[in-house]
Amino acid sequence: MTERINLNQQLVLDTETDEKQFLTFMMDEEEYGIDILAVQEIRGWEPVTVIPNSPPFVKGAMNLRGTIVPIIDLRQRFGITHIGYGPLTVVIVVSVTLKEQTKLMGIVVDAVSDVYSISEEKAKDVPDFQDSDNAQFVHGLVNVGEKMVVLLNLKKVLDLHDKSCAKSNGG
């Protein structure tokens, strides 16, 4: 765990290196990372309002202090089996800029894991697994100590106009 750096120290260091901070979370035993600057807040799961005729991975809309925020189940978005939601289920609210519009969206993950500081240069390109629909979501792979972290391309993950969500069959 030598790679782990205290958050406060890192804030100072950050200005001097090209390292970026990533928030990682667990999903189906895998660790995924997203740019920490996109993260607005982390909340527990609460029931949401179903949006009719939306893709199955869109769980619905949530009230975030007066703003309507759509909630996306990342497992379902990735085609991983859906598990029930429990008290430990976490919603990470992120802001992404899609087509010049900044949108707030929530992603449902199993659990939040850690914050790492990673030099982007270290991130390796995704191996050629074109067969997988999910390849487009991956920004790169990086080793942190013994573990491998999948850095996500949030824009792709949250761009719902993508063809993979064309088929609608809501809850």
Binding site: I51, P52, N53, A61, M62, N63, T67, I68, P70, K103
Partner: protein
């Protein structure tokens, strides 16, 4: 001395746009031959401040252009030139051009020069050539300024004593004057008091200059532009280069005593003040402000509205204090009663506050109406029709967002009224009508709605032609019996929007479906009534605000939706005996004389677990587009006002949903978009009472 001028840009642009709007509306009031001095002064003043401001901020393109405009206006103002219709047209074009230039500058782009240059040349042509009227002033009017021969001007410049305090320095002006040509300066000091009485901060000296220059009078005036309110300035031409300057004025004389025909006062302090006051009065009163400029996000709010808000917040604070006091007491029966009373007061205060906050967004509809005089003038000139535009109810208030979206459909309707509705003067005379047609715009409140009527006294819609066209387009069948109103309704059908139809159909047609769509997008409606030979009236009905609506909460399975109350005609329990199956999977309910198609919300929205048996559910009959459908729901819940939130902002458009809101318990509830829902259900309307069903053929609806 470097001041960051950019901090004043916003104010400059705002004021300039106001000035342009004022110029435009005043120009429209001008009738050549009957011009009123005040009006011309207002226009001149507006042009003058735009020139001054743009000069200060270094927008030379604007100030150069405004300069020629101002020169022409000045000549008209001084009676040197007769106002003719051509001037008004040209000035209006200049206003457009200036507006475009300023808009570009505001967006920090380089303004388009070509149009400005062309216009400028036309102005210069007027200033140089033809009909500069009325002899006496001829000698000093512009044509000679353009000549290359040097002219000697006698300039009397007598600053008012406080000149220094306004930050002006005569020395600079003298230096600038000397750059224009050969300058002879006499400083007159007879008003300098004895040393004891002398106030070092006052200006006692005054000057007489003899300037021999080829640059013309306007160049001189420009130098004194900033002090013309603070000084007496006389500029007199005293002949050619070789003549001796004529001693016309005794040094102690004030310029006013100079023989009138020999001088043109640039601007006496007295007259300039009246102009300024005039401007101050007219501009805010007319509220002439751009409303189309998307870059403007500020609104001006009357101080009375702010005052009442402050009052209300005060009340709210008192109520809050009262409640917290009760909260500290021990709970007894009497304190509960007091608590309830306090809560009622709180509810009352909140409601008041809400209404007043909403009122901040309300602006008088004159913001939209004010663009029409110009539009009507331009179009009627193009069409060779004589039109009088009447505006009624200009002070009727309306939410700013609604207003912004209203103006395009209105422009369309007014244009149609002028183009297709009103006849030519000859036709009108032949029919015994006044050759001048009338278009009336009328706005008023009715319930929670604003109603806007666009009336013309033209020939009305030609129902026979519309009917034929509709049959040709397959919108209706030959044998369909339609009432006049139903036929008139047809012009809103998309089939009527193709360009070919326009010239053939004398009635309205171009893009009326778009007009209706735009208005429906605002939760409003548009209707037409028309009588042959008498005229037509288009009636637009809109909610006062887009931010709040009265909603009916309904339940389907465990989902809560909101149906806009304004669309609901009635809610009822279904009498199964009156339900019949039409075609594949569609059921209709016979309700009095109508057949109401039943839309199953759970089916359209793919919800499981809803009640499906007709006798255990409720039908909410809604009207959209003069067309009724019934929405099947499990239950009716409360009615309440809901604040509309965008679902699109963070998500995307959802068919059948117009937005979302947050209920009292903090959960999100979606608002149903009736026309979207009908579309989603696959139900289509043919122009008559007959139903065409195009339901998802393979699925069908469980009965």
């Amino acid at each position: 001395m470097s001041i960051d001028l950019s901090q004043f840009f916003d104010v400059f642009f705002e004021e300039s746009f106001e000035g342009l709007d004022a110029m435009e509306s005043e120009l429209l009031n001008l009738e050549p031959g009957k011009e009123d001095q005040e009006t011309i002064n207002t226009i001149f003043r507006a042009a003058h401040s735009i020139k001054g401001g743009s000069g200060t901020f270094g927008f030379t393109a604007v100030s150069d252009f405004t300069h020629v405009l101002e020169t022409l206006l000045d000549q008209i103002r001084n009676g040197q030139r007769q106002l003719v219709a051509e001037h008004v047209n040209l000035l209006l074009k200049a206003v457009d051009c200036l507006r475009a230039m300023l808009t570009a500058l505001q967006a920090q782009e380089e303004p388009e020069r070509q149009e400005a240059n062309e216009l400028k040349q036309r102005f210069e042509a007027i200033l140089n050539g033809e009909n500069s009227t009325d002899a006496p002033e001829q000698a000093i009017s512009e044509p000679e300024e353009q000549a290359d021969l040097p002219i000697t001007f006698q300039i009397d410049f007598k600053p008012l004593p406080y000149l220094f305090k306004t930050g002006n320095e005569p020395l600079y002006m003298i230096a600038e004057l000397s750059e224009l040509g050969e300058l002879e300066t006499q400083a007159l000091h007879d008003e300098v008091p004895k040393l004891k009485q002398l106030n070092a901060e006052d200006c006692y000296l005054y000057w007489r200059f003899f300037l021999t220059t080829t640059r013309g009078e306007s160049a001189i005036r420009e130098i004194f532009e900033w002090v013309e309110d603070d000084a007496e300035i006389t500029i007199v031409q005293c002949g050619g280069l070789f003549e001796e300057p004529v001693e016309q004025v005794e040094p102690s004389d004030t310029p006013q005593s100079v023989p009138a025909e020999a001088e043109v006062p640039v601007q006496t302090p007295a007259s300039s003040k009246t102009v300024q006051e005039n401007k101050k009065e007219t501009v805010p009163a007319k509220d002439a402000r751009k409303n189309t400029d998307p870059s403007t996000t500020s609104i001006r709010v009357g101080i009375d509205k702010v005052d009442s808000l402050i009052n209300m917040v005060g009340e709210l604070v008192i109520t809050q204090a009262m409640l917290s006091q009760i909260g500290e007491q021990e709970i007894t029966e009497s304190s509960i009663a007091a608590l309830q009373e306090g809560l009622a007061q709180l509810a009352h205060n909140t409601r008041d506050l809400q209404e007043n906050v909403m009122r901040i967004r309300m602006l008088p509809i004159s913001f939209v109406f004010s663009r029409f005089p110009r539009l009507v003038r331009d179009i009627s000139q193009k069409l060779n029709k004589q039109v009088e535009l009447k505006l009624i109810g200009e002070q009727t208030e309306l939410d700013k967002t609604v207003m912004e979206k209203l103006s395009d459909p209105m422009v369309h309707l007014v244009r149609n009224s002028l183009d297709h509705g009103l006849e030519t003067p000859e036709e009108r005379i032949a029919q015994g009508k006044d050759p001048v047609g009338t278009v009336t715009l009328n706005a008023f409140h009715q319930g929670g709605n604003i109603v806007i009527e666009i009336m013309d006294d033209g020939k009305g819609l030609d129902t026979e032609k519309i009917r034929n066209k509709a049959i040709q387009n397959g919108l209706i069948q030959e044998q369909d019996e339609l009432t006049v109103d139903e036929i008139n309704e047809l012009i809103f059908m998309p089939g009527f929007s193709t360009a070919d139809n326009v010239s053939e159909i004398s009635g309205r047609g171009v893009g009326m479906d778009v007009v209706r769509k735009n208005i429906q997008a605002l939760n409003g409606s548009v209707e037409v009534s028309s009588e042959a030979g008498v005229g037509s009236t288009f009636t637009i009905r809109l909610p006062l605000t887009l931010a709040i609506l009265d909603g009916q909460l309904v339940q389907v399975a465990d989902h809560t939706y909101i149906i806009p109350l304004i669309s609901i005609v009635e809610s009822l329990q279904i009498d199964i005996a009156k339900v019949s199956n039409v075609g594949k999977g569609l059921q209709v309910l016979r309700l009095r004389d109508e057949y109401i198609p039943i839309l199953r919300l759970y089916d359209i929205f793919n919800h499981k677990g809803a009640r499906e048996e007709l006798d255990k559910t409720l039908l909410v009959v809604v009207e959209n587009d003069n067309y009724k459908v019934g929405i099947l729901v499990d239950d009716l819940l409360a009615q309440q006002q809901v604040v509309i939130k965008s679902l699109e902002a963070n998500y995307q458009r959802v068919d059948g949903i117009s937005g979302a809101t947050i209920l009292g318990d903090g959960t999100v509830s979606l608002i149903i978009d009736i026309s979207g829902l009908i579309k989603l259900s696959g139900l289509r309307r043919p122009g008559s009472s007959e139903l065409l069903v195009d339901l998802k053929a393979d699925e069908g609806i469980p009965a």
